[in-house]
C-alpha cells in the first residue's frame, strides 16, 4: 500500500516538474548524437525519388532547365538549405541548367549562400550553367509566375547582377515552362500551391515542393492528384536527396564518368557512411542531423508516454 502511495507521489511530482528540466533533456538529446556521429541507414521514399528522376532526366539536355524558387527566410534554413544544396549539386554534377529566384528580401542571400556552397566544387559559370534571377518582391509573384508561362526573359527582365536575362547564354533554347519544365518551390508555407494553381493549371508546368516537415501532411492531396510530382519532406527529404546524389549523380567510374542512372536495386543495397571524410560535411549535414532527429523523436515519445502514465495513475487516485 505504502509502495503504491510512493509511486503515486512520484508521478504527482513528475507531473509538476519544472519545464526547464525538460528543456535540458531536449538539448542533450540533440547535442550528444551530433557530437558522437554514427552511421544510420537513410531510406529513400517515392516522393523524393520522383523529383530526383525528373531532374536527372534533364541531364545534358540544352533545351531543358529547372527553376528553384526560394520562398523562405533563415528561420527554416536547417530543413530547406540541405535540400537546396543537394539539388544544385545534382544539377552541377549532371550538367543540368538551373535557375534560382526568391520572393523575400531575407531569401536573397540564402540563394547566394546555396549557390556558393554547391558551386565551389564545380567548374560552372553564372549566366551559362546557372542563373540567379535574384530577389523579386512577393507582390510580383503572380505576375511573374504567369508571365514566365509566355516568356521568361520578359517576365523576369534582369538577373541578380542586373544583367538582361534575354542576353544570357543559358537562355538559349529556354523560353517558357515548356522548357523550364520543373519548378521546385522551397518554403515553410503552402507556397507551392500558388505554383500549382497558376503555373501548373494554366501552363502545365511540373511542380515539386521542398517543404518544412510542418507542411508535409497538408500537401498529400496534391501529391496523390499528381499536381505535385514530388515532395521533399523536411530534413528527412533532404537526407534522402543527399544520398541519391551521392549514390548516382556524384558516382564516378570508367563506365560512368559523369554519374550513373537511377536504379531502385542500387539505392536499396547501397549504404553511404556519414562518419569519416568520404563525403564532405556540407553534403551530409541533413543525414547527420537525422541521427539527432532519431534520438529526439524517441525522447519525445518517451515524454508523451511518461506524461500519460502519470496522468492515468494520478487520475486513478482521484477516482
Amino acid at each position: 500500500m505504502n509502495k503504491n502511495k510512493n509511486v503515486i507521489k512520484l508521478f504527482d511530482r513528475m507531473q509538476n516538474i519544472d519545464r526547464r528540466y525538460i528543456y535540458i533533456v531536449v538539448a542533450l538529446s540533440i547535442i550528444i548524437p551530433l557530437l558522437i556521429p554514427f552511421n544510420s541507414r537513410t531510406y529513400v521514399t517515392k516522393p523524393t525519388e520522383d523529383i530526383y528522376k525528373k531532374i536527372d532526366s534533364f541531364a545534358g539536355d540544352e533545351t531543358k532547365a529547372i527553376l528553384m524558387s526560394f520562398t523562405h527566410d533563415a528561420s527554416t534554413m536547417p530543413e530547406l538549405f540541405p535540400m537546396e544544396v543537394s539539388v544544385l549539386r545534382h544539377c552541377f554534377e549532371r550538367n543540368i541548367k538551373v535557375f534560382t529566384i526568391c520572393w523575400l528580401p531575407a531569401a536573397a542571400p540564402l540563394v547566394d549562400y546555396a549557390l556558393n556552397t554547391a558551386k565551389e566544387d564545380f567548374d560552372v559559370q553564372s549566366g551559362v550553367d546557372y542563373c540567379n534571377f535574384g530577389y523579386k518582391p512577393y507582390v510580383l509573384r503572380l505576375p511573374i509566375m504567369l508571365g514566365m508561362g509566355d516568356d521568361i526573359s520578359k517576365a523576369v527582365e534582369t538577373d541578380s547582377q542586373g544583367r538582361k536575362v534575354e542576353n544570357l547564354e543559358i537562355m538559349k533554347n529556354i523560353k517558357n515552362y515548356d522548357d523550364m519544365n520543373l519548378v521546385v518551390d522551397f518554403a515553410g508555407s503552402s507556397s507551392a500551391i500558388t505554383w500549382i494553381t497558376y503555373a501548373r493549371a494554366r501552363f502545365g508546368a511540373n511542380i515539386a515542393a521542398g517543404v518544412t516537415a510542418v507542411m508535409v501532411a497538408d500537401n498529400y492531396p496534391y501529391l496523390q492528384t499528381g499536381q505535385l510530382m514530388g515532395i521533399f519532406r523536411g530534413l528527412k527529404g533532404a537526407a534522402e536527396y543527399e544520398k541519391l546524389v551521392d549514390v548516382f549523380a556524384a558516382y564516378e567510374s570508367e563506365d560512368y564518368p559523369n554519374g550513373r542512372p537511377f536504379s531502385k536495386e542500387i539505392i536499396k543495397e547501397t549504404r553511404v557512411p556519414i562518419t569519416g571524410d568520404t563525403v564532405p560535411y556540407k553534403y551530409k549535414k541533413a543525414r547527420i542531423g537525422m541521427n539527432a532527429q532519431s534520438i529526439a523523436h524517441i525522447m519525445m515519445i518517451f515524454f508523451i508516454l511518461l506524461g500519460n502514465i502519470g496522468y492515468f495513475i494520478t487520475r486513478k487516485k482521484e477516482l
Binding site: Q15, I17, R19, I22, Y23, V26, A27, S40, R41, T42, Y43, T45, D73, A74, S75, T76, M77, P78, A106, P109, D112, N116, P137, V139, L140, P143, I144, L146, G147, D150, K154, A155, R202, A213, V216, A217, D218, Y220, P221, Q224, R233, G234, K236, M290, N291, Q293, S294, I295, A296, H297, I298, M299, M300, I301, F303, I304, L306, G307, N308, Y311
Partner: protein
C-alpha cells in the same frame, strides 16, 4: 467617392483578369503585359509601409518613454544602420551589410523558431493526454508518424515506416482533402466578394 473609385478599379480590372484566364486573345495578353509593367513599377513603394509603421510604433514608444523604450532605440538604430550600410558599402558578399545579415539577422531569425522545439517537448509531456478515444487515435497516429520518419523507426520494425506511409496516404489524405475543398471554396467565395465589392475591409477605415 473615396471608396467608390477604388472599388470600380478593382471590379473592372478583376473581371478583366477573370476574362484573361479564359481568353488567350491578343488584347487579353496585351492587357496582361501592360499590367505586368505597371505593377512592377508600383511595387517598390510598398516597403515604405513597413518602414513607416515601424518608425511610428517605436518613435511613439521613445517619445512617451513607455516602459522598455530603450529597446525601441535599438530597433530603430538597427534599421537605420543596416540600411545605411547597404547604401554606403553596397550589398554584395563581404560588405558590412551582408555581415550584418549573416551574423545578426540570420542566426537570430533561425533561433526564434528553434525555441519551439523546447516548447513542443514540454507540451508533449504536460498536455498531450489520451483523455478520450479520439485523442488516443491522434496520439497513436502522431507516434507512428514520428517513428516512421527516422532511421531508428525502420530499424525497430519494417512495419513502422509502412504504417506511417499508409496513415499519410489514406486517412490523412482524406482529412486534408476534405479540408482543402472547404478552404478552396472559401477562397473562391472571398475572391468573388472582393471583386463584387462586398468585402471591403482591405480598404481600411474612414470614408
Amino acid at each position: 467617392m473615396k471608396r467608390q473609385i477604388p472599388l470600380i478599379i478593382i471590379i473592372t480590372l478583376g473581371f478583366m483578369f477573370v476574362a484573361h484566364s479564359f481568353i488567350p486573345h491578343k488584347i487579353s495578353t496585351d492587357f496582361f503585359d501592360w499590367y505586368q509593367d505597371w505593377v512592377k513599377a508600383v511595387s517598390p513603394f510598398a516597403v515604405s509601409l513597413g518602414i513607416m509603421s515601424l518608425f511610428m510604433v517605436h518613435g511613439t514608444k521613445i517619445k512617451r518613454k513607455i516602459s522598455n523604450w530603450q529597446y525601441s532605440v535599438i530597433t530603430l538604430a538597427g534599421l537605420v544602420f543596416t540600411a545605411f550600410a547597404g547604401f554606403m558599402w553596397g550589398t554584395q558578399s563581404g560588405t558590412p551589410y551582408m555581415w550584418l545579415f549573416e551574423n545578426v539577422q540570420m542566426p537570430m531569425s533561425a533561433t526564434m523558431f528553434a525555441l519551439l522545439a523546447f516548447y513542443i517537448a514540454s507540451a508533449a509531456y504536460k498536455a498531450f493526454r489520451a483523455r478520450s478515444a479520439e485523442a488516443t487515435v491522434l496520439l497513436i497516429a502522431a507516434i507512428i508518424v514520428m517513428l516512421g520518419q527516422v532511421p531508428l523507426g525502420a530499424m525497430i520494425s519494417k512495419w513502422i515506416p509502412e504504417s506511417s506511409t499508409w496513415i499519410l496516404n489514406v486517412p490523412n489524405l482524406a482529412a486534408k482533402r476534405a479540408i482543402m475543398i472547404g478552404v478552396g471554396l472559401g477562397m473562391t467565395a472571398t475572391s468573388l466578394k472582393i471583386l463584387l465589392g462586398i468585402e471591403r475591409t482591405y480598404l481600411g477605415g474612414g470614408d
